[in-house]
């Protein structure tokens, strides 16, 4: 566990000395803030974060790709992976350490948006329970996007290629929900497999065990796959 902590804090520091942390936070605040103000406050006069969190479901995909794309690609590109993998560290410690760092950065950017519910509380009477579940959902969904990003980064030496893999898979999973038009059990299967199916309810303040299980399983398997990929890379 101590090693996970060491890796995570190194990565986290590296986020904050590079422009990534600031760019991500700026992007988050700009788009979500704009949406919150123009759609929720000006147009709908709603004391709810529903549509803002809905947008977050899309916004988090490129954000996750940007946060994670360099994690392994850059180490392989610059050769630092050779030192990292010859230190007495287990492969899973390296993968989890890097994942935790990306998760903390995402959580930091998400925390900056907590000002919106604060404004809602000052000028309206929002449903705090819904907002809380919405945030839990956003965090959980971000966590699964980031896990996918870590896996993508382990797949390529180029950070750009890693980001593209991550974007394709995540948008693919997101729009799988469109399969619902097929109707019947096939359509339902598509809907349940997609992120939209899982996250929609959470954003609306509904906690469904199926959604939680889906996201946690997704995180578990993608990280497991990333650890295996790191192992396989040694063989090549």
């Amino acid at each position: 566990m101590r090693n996970v902590n060491t890796i995570a804090s190194r990565e986290l520091k590296s986020y904050f000395v590079s422009p990534i942390a600031y760019a991500v936070s700026f992007f988050f605040l700009l788009i979500l803030g704009g949406w919150f103000y123009f759609i929720t406050v000006v147009s709908h006069h709603e004391a709810s974060l529903r549509s803002t969190l809905d947008i977050l479901g899309y916004l988090s995909i490129p954000v996750a790709a940007v946060i994670t794309m360099h994690l392994f690609s850059e180490e392989r590109h610059s050769g630092t992976i050779e030192l990292l993998m010859t230190y007495p560290l287990k492969d899973w410690e390296v993968v989890i350490g890097k994942y935790v760092a990306s998760l903390l950065l995402y959580a930091f950017a998400l925390a900056l948006t907590l000002q919106y519910p604060l404004f809602l509380g000052m000028f309206g009477n929002p449903d705090w329970g819904t907002i809380l579940t919405g945030y839990i959902g956003a965090l959980l969904m971000g966590a699964s996007f980031l896990a996918m990003g870590v896996l993508s980064s382990s797949l390529s030496r180029s950070a750009v290629v890693s980001a593209i893999i991550c974007l394709l898979v995540l948008f693919g999973l997101r729009f799988l929900a469109a399969g619902v038009v097929l109707g019947g059990p096939v359509g339902k299967t598509f809907y349940y497999l997609s992120f939209a199916g899982q996250y929609g309810d959470l954003a609306n303040g509904l906690i469904d065990t199926r959604d939680i299980v889906y996201l946690v399983t997704f995180i578990f398997f993608t990280l497991f796959a990333a650890i295996r990929v790191i192992e396989i890379n040694r063989w090549k």
């Binding site: 101590r2 090693n3 590296s14 610059s78």
Partner: protein
């Protein structure tokens, strides 16, 4: 301390390292030589558990690099080629990170960092960001991370590339000093470095081990003839003919043309080991009307050994013997 047996690494059809076996004793400094792409780095990568061997085994301090990788890595200091470092970190922060992943006692940590910093001469750059450092300093930061935790075994892949002569001298002294208590494998293609520092050398060519011995022993083995180097002024054809008449002389090679007008050409005369031909050579030169400028016994340098074992095919080697 290090036991390597039949180590082989294949990439598809390419055999990068082919059936290499050798042993390194505790406290020994082993020089690892070979032309570029001979398989030096691949071998070191297998010994440091970065890549697994295709077949064969390697043990460090009794632990197998594949089965007990973590135990091996705890006892290892590794400086990869080109010293890959986290460029966005400060030297001090980086060494702190290394001390943590190498699991150094928290109470000892700052003392250990200070030790490596002063050992590698990094005091004045401690708070600098690594990307702003010169190649020489980066190499030293790489060395410092390898020395962190005072590991039993050190593997250094071309540690002196990019250093200026004074720094090279310092690093060599440091490695020599380290050899007293550590087992060191030093990969390099700077030959004088090897003769100065290493107890024994391994020469690898095209993935195969072609020599494993001390420099003195290799010199003795490869010296098939007695060699005398002479510098003679005069027509080269005539000089060679005159020398070949001397009893005991096997061959005469013109080694070097005259570097100045009026100076002599340099020849190496190969003669039988049981014959001292020096007086006869002198007499023959004088009798032929040539000018003898210089004569001294010639012994194989490490460079000669290296070239003989790596550059030449078997046919050329046979030619040299005759």
């Amino acid at each position: 301390m290090i036991e390597v047996e039949h180590l082989t690494k294949r990439y598809g059809n390419l055999t990068a390292v082919n059936d290499i076996s050798f042993q390194v004793e505790r406290g020994e400094i082993l020089g690892f030589l070979g032309p570029n792409a001979a398989g030096k780095t691949t071998t070191l990568r297998m010994l440091t558990c970065f890549i697994p061997p295709t077949s064969g085994t390697a043990k460090i301090a009794g632990f197998d690099v594949f089965d007990d990788s973590l135990e091996v890595r705890k006892r290892l200091g590794y400086l990869p080629e080109h010293a890959p470092l986290y460029l966005d970190m400060r030297v001090g922060d980086y060494l702190d990170f290394v001390s943590r992943v190498k699991d150094i006692d928290p109470h000892e940590r700052s003392k250990e960092i200070d030790r490596t910093v002063s050992q590698c001469g990094l005091k004045e750059v401690r708070s600098r960001i690594i990307s702003t450092l010169s190649k020489g300093y980066r190499q030293r930061v790489g060395l410092a991370q390898a020395l962190m935790g005072d590991p039993e075994v050190l593997m250094l892949d071309e540690p002196t590339t990019g250093l200026d002569p004074r720094q090279i001298h310092e690093i060599r002294d440091l490695i020599k000093e380290l050899g007293l208590g550590h087992t060191v494998i030093l990969s390099t293609h700077i030959l004088p470095e090897v003769s100065m520092i290493c107890d024994r050398i391994v020469i690898i060519n095209q993935g195969r081990l072609v020599a494993l011995d001390s420099v003195e022993n290799l010199t003795r083995q490869l010296t098939k003839t007695q060699m005398t180097q002479i510098n003679v002024k005069g027509d080269p054809g005539g000089v060679v003919n005159a020398l070949k008449q001397v009893e005991g002389v096997l061959a005469v090679d013109k080694k070097q043309d005259a570097d100045l007008v009026g100076a002599g050409h340099v020849y190496v005369v190969h003669s039988r080991l049981d014959f001292d031909v020096r007086e006869e050579i002198a007499r023959a030169v004088v009798k032929g009307g040539f000018g003898l400028h210089e004569m001294h016994p010639y012994s194989l340098s490490l460079e000669d050994i290296f070239l003989m074992l790596t550059n030449e095919g078997p046919a050329a080697k046979r030619g040299r013997k005759n």
